[in-house]
């Protein structure tokens, strides 16, 4: 099958044409990429097919009069299909101040090696 993917490695935004055989177990060598203006397009296109990942930013509840939510993020890109399970978990957490930016909120989510950390400090 062929998919069109916009490369976001730089502002040009090449519309990559990515072809591969969808047999449930796509190998890197089976992926054909066209319309890329540079080699970064090749890397990006392959990654988007093999294991698309995203950094997730979200909020957790916090017990404070200053704000209802405190912002958090993943320490690295997480597989796309793990995002919603992560969000469901994060939305159940309630933190107590003080919190410092960088504090771990959730450790090694689903054995991904990815932590979730606070991105804002709140002393009280």
């Amino acid at each position: 099958m062929t998919r069109e993917i916009i490369c976001i490695s730089c502002p040009i935004g090449c519309h990559l044409s990515v072809s591969y055989r969808d047999n449930g177990n796509v190998q890197e060598k089976d992926i054909q990429i066209e319309n890329n203006k540079c080699s970064r397009g090749l890397i990006y296109g392959k990654e988007e097919i093999l294991s698309p990942k995203r950094v997730v930013t979200a909020t957790c509840a916090i017990d404070s009069i200053h704000m209802a939510r405190i912002p958090v993020k993943t320490t690295g890109a997480l597989l796309k299909n793990s995002i919603y399970p992560l969000l469901e978990d994060l939305y159940k957490i309630k933190l107590m101040p003080p919190v410092s930016a960088g504090d771990i909120v959730l450790e090694n989510f689903m054995n991904s090696g990815i932590n979730v950390i606070a991105t804002r400090s709140l002393s009280r």
Partner: protein
């Protein structure tokens, strides 16, 4: 009334104000920041997504992290910070300025300062500004207000949303709303190209299969008490094609239809506002027509990345330092937007030092060329891999290129984009 004397007062404690303050304080000048909200950081605090700081800190930060880095910087410096305080008036007395501000703690305060830095940021355009017809129900939000409600207060504006405008805040909110469980039905953009960054189109719309209707407008809003739906009409060659109008049921409409520099205090102080940027017209020292009043950040022109706000504001701080030290760079000459350029700022340049300009393209193009000419003579030609209106272009011109060129008071620098 309380009276306080300092060398510089900065209006606004967001990314622009903090960067300028740090630069000024580092040179040993006394500086005070007046911020109307209860915390420093401005709008960054509600921008909890990542993508900030790649230029300034060489790493990808979220808005609150970027803000906190700067809060830590200014806390280490001798900078007076007044939060919850609003400036009402700048009274220009030539040699000094009297700035009036008030807060519930301090009452009305009179600051006597030598220089003022405008760093108030911008505000969102709204329904009135785009004139969307239809009923006037509850449920029409600017994207920034919705962002604040979701990210800080944890409140969701509605279940089924349509977003007008593909500006970055609108795109970011499309992903945010999806991530909190609301349905984003569509993003509607009047232009034939997206107004936001490409990476946001990919990660905020395509990831969620949210349709982006380019060259479309919301032509009517329905709903008596609360929004019940919208009509969407395509533009064909710029003209509405009513027969192809379609309807989407929704309970919420988010508007991400542009930002406008917030210059009410500036205008009252006699600062001249540029028609192109809606921000102050400034010279090469980022000084307005009122001597001693400077401007930087989104109050000057709306930036795409906070990193550029910081860069500009640090420079602004250094120009303020020169001003305080009596070393302000001399003669200023005109700068004009050339072909395919929507605006350029600053509006003046000097031959005594290097100059840096920010400009916005009116066209979308790969392999464009930036052409700088002085009095009709081309002095720089530079390849631009890709230009589009949503991405700011920066341009530096070294002093020695300008020095020996026989400048006179009618001299004019023109920066254009060749298509």
């Amino acid at each position: 009334m309380k009276k306080i004397e300092r060398e510089v007062l900065i209006i606004g404690g967001g990314s622009a104000g903090m960067a300028a303050a740090a630069e000024i304080a580092e040179k040993g000048h006394s500086v005070v920041i007046v911020e109307r909200e209860s915390t420093m950081g401005g709008i960054l605090n509600q921008c909890i997504h990542n993508g900030f700081g790649l230029h300034r800190f060489k790493e990808e930060l979220t808005g609150p992290e970027y803000a906190e880095r700067y809060v830590n910087i200014i806390n280490e410096l001798p900078i007076d910070q007044y939060t919850g305080m609003t400036v009402t008036e700048i009274d220009d007395q030539k040699d000094f300025k009297l700035v009036y501000a008030f807060s519930s703690h301090e009452g009305m305060v009179e600051f006597k300062v030598k220089a003022v830095v405008l760093a108030m940021g911008c505000r969102e355009r709204n329904r009135g500004n785009i004139g969307t017809p239809g009923s006037r129900p509850s449920g029409v939000f600017t994207a920034g207000l919705a962002q604040r409600l979701v990210n800080i207060d944890g409140l969701i504006p509605g279940k089924k949303c349509v977003i007008v405008g593909s500006g970055d805040i609108g795109l970011i909110m499309a992903r945010r709303l999806s991530w909190v469980g609301a349905d984003v039905q569509a993003v509607v953009e009047i232009q034939p190209y997206p107004a936001g960054l490409t990476r946001n189109i990919v990660q905020c719309l395509n990831d969620f299969n949210i349709p982006l209707h380019l060259s479309h407008i919301v032509s009517k809003i329905y709903g008596k008490d609360r929004v019940e739906g919208v009509d969407i009409t395509p533009l064909i060659d710029g003209i509405e094609a009513p027969v192809q109008t379609f309807h989407i049921d929704c309970d919420t409409l988010l508007l991400s239809v542009g930002l406008v520099p917030d210059n009410e205090v500036s205008k009252k102080a006699g600062v001249i506002i540029s028609n192109q940027t809606s921000g102050p017209a400034v010279d090469g020292n980022l000084m307005t027509n009122v001597e001693g009043i400077f401007a930087c950040g989104n109050v000057l022109h709306v930036h795409d990345l906070v990193d550029f706000v910081t860069e500009e504001s640090i420079r602004c701080g250094s120009y303020v330092n020169s001003y305080l030290e009596g070393k302000t760079k001399g003669s200023q000459y005109s700068v004009m937007a050339g072909a395919n350029v929507r605006y350029i700022t600053p509006n003046k340049f000097t031959s005594d030092s290097d100059n840096k300009f920010y400009l916005r393209s009116m066209i979308v193009k790969n392999q464009a060329e930036l052409v700088v000419s002085l009095d009709g003579r081309e002095i720089i030609r530079k390849k631009q891999k890709h230009v589009q209106p949503s991405e700011m272009i920066s341009c530096e011109i070294k002093a020695d290129l300008l020095k020996s060129t026989g400048l006179n008071e009618k001299s004019r620098l023109e920066i254009g984009l060749k298509s």
